[in-house]
Symmetry: C2
Subunit: 404 residues, 2 copies
Amino acid sequence: MFKVNDNYLKLPGSYLFSTIAKKVSAYQAEHPDQSIIRLGIGDVTQPLAPAIIEALHSAVDEMADAATFKGYAPDLGYEFLRNAIAEHDYHELGCEIAADEIFVSDGAKCDSGNIQEIFSTDNKIAVCDPVYPVYIDTNVMAGRTGTYDPDREVWSDVIYMPCTEANGFVPELPKETPDLIYLCFPNNPTGSAITKAQLQEWVDYANRVGAVIIYDAAYEAYISEEGIPHTIFECEGARTCAIELRSFSKKAGFTGTRLGYTVIPKDLKSGDVTLHSLWARRHGTKYNGAPYIVQRAGEAVYSPEGKAQLEKQIAYYMKNAKVIKEGLAEAGYSVSGGVNAPYIWLKAPGRMTSWEFFDYLLERANVVGTPGSGFGPSGEGYFRLTAFGTYENTVAAIERIKAI
Amino acid sequence: MFKVNDNYLKLPGSYLFSTIAKKVSAYQAEHPDQSIIRLGIGDVTQPLAPAIIEALHSAVDEMADAATFKGYAPDLGYEFLRNAIAEHDYHELGCEIAADEIFVSDGAKCDSGNIQEIFSTDNKIAVCDPVYPVYIDTNVMAGRTGTYDPDREVWSDVIYMPCTEANGFVPELPKETPDLIYLCFPNNPTGSAITKAQLQEWVDYANRVGAVIIYDAAYEAYISEEGIPHTIFECEGARTCAIELRSFSKKAGFTGTRLGYTVIPKDLKSGDVTLHSLWARRHGTKYNGAPYIVQRAGEAVYSPEGKAQLEKQIAYYMKNAKVIKEGLAEAGYSVSGGVNAPYIWLKAPGRMTSWEFFDYLLERANVVGTPGSGFGPSGEGYFRLTAFGTYENTVAAIERIKAI
């Protein structure tokens, strides 16, 4: 008689976005005349840039002709895309990453969920609190997290690193030594950034204790300030302790087009075994490459036209971020993020919980955001707004919030 | 200090296609004037059908306009595609599969590799021998297969079900009871088909012993004979014991476009837990949907124009299969497959091993195929040719083989 993977049964329900959706539709049903503005989910709204559209059409035409048709892609991604990534995302910053250390995939969510698989189930993970839930949930599924305490909403075998106003939402080195450290900067959900000096401390620490940093840099394109690293490989020694995850979703509006990549330097080893070889084996066995047409679209992201168009697209969203941040500050809110990230993290006023503030905002301003407590216990009392709406909606939402 | 998943280290090298590539390029280097014809790898060569190209262009245009732009897809796939699949692949055959029992993915390779994850690592798997290597390798990675015997090339905790000339390349019910049974029909690599009556025996057996059948029907579109089931859900009782994997790769030339789906009926349970809910959780946590434009391309596969064009495409490849099968039979080879599948499975002449025949064919006819021993011990002495080349190359290859 077959049995299921009972680690799956330990997962508490993932009710954050479904609870939001239910509350919103119940409210809308009761108030059919009111127009609700959604600044909750981190999905983009601007269309793909013209250079990307052109690359897609041209690649589709190639698929129509036997002479240029493309079948199975190379396991680890087409050379043209891996070369463009190595050149523009690493060499231009002076980082030594070779094209064959880049693994093209269908997105950072998949990679951040799958990467734990090449590690022993004995390894102990450390995560920021609040955190993107995929890091924890996929380790639960693998049986790496111990037992769940529903009252404190924490797992017994996970090291939580609180990110609070007190530490500027950048975690301190943990007291207990982890094997795997998940870091996401610029951060989802807090919108905070890490300085190069701070990240260097983490790299030095990981090399010292023999830990691997899984560095999620999905929001790198939103960095606007000097001194904020665009990649962990700007830090000395990162080649022996870091894996980097990157995404085209927020950089180029690919949430529905699906493209990302993972960098594993060949110097990252356990004894004689390179993590590069294990991930290559996983890719070759369980994955079959991103679509050719999408890889061509990814290449266009790095063309001069593509770069110029995407700079404008990101400026559009960051203008929204500014509207949100400055508007809320004017209205007396304690607010952070939104400078090097498309997320704004605000403190619910008074002693309101995250969900109380959610209801308050929905009912009084008809604006939807995301309760911070949905990202972990240290998110309680906080709230996330995203800059990915349209400019008009963003301005209207902030006017409404200021009016209450 | 972090540790790796040492199950990965147990995997013997996956040298089949890289050994082939090395031998071919060494031969080509020594004989630069000879033109080599490749009928080895199962990749398609015909371009995407016009209806699919049109759907792709139209979806790309939607991505260029904010009003029609698509961000994150629904986790389990767009309704338009799931409805088309349910209607055309199931309801038309009288099979009761609901649209919400269909999980759209980026291909059957990924799904066939990932599906084992929702089962306990204690479960015992049964596989055909010879077999598509992904089924075994992904179970090795999960630690489900025991120890490897390099001499016999088998794993201690895997039930191998020989598929030989004696049983028409359809396995018999195993003596030892498995928990998970991988079946692929029409079969890769042997090209054999299973009758509905034979498959019904497997369904009855699985229901009797409490096993799950993971049914890979990636080559379903190549079925030409009556009485061969297009889906396991044609069998009575399959809803309580079967998961089906399907692919657009060979049905519509999507090897480089990437689309597939998995069907998990809601009646398939372990106690109160549906496998449907576990796979939905996995999809929601570790996957982010197939690209919108590719899902629109998938929808076009089911349009009247798409269906008519793909019928011709498949007829083109099956004409190749006929050329190969009849040509080899005329030349005195013992040959099977090629009637309901794009693969032809032949016995190497005399006492030649698979690899000896590989060298013989490469050197004497300049034709490349795949040694059967690469798919498992019972494949020794056999050889796989595929129908996915161009017609001209296929005819030329068979003429050359007949001439030696």
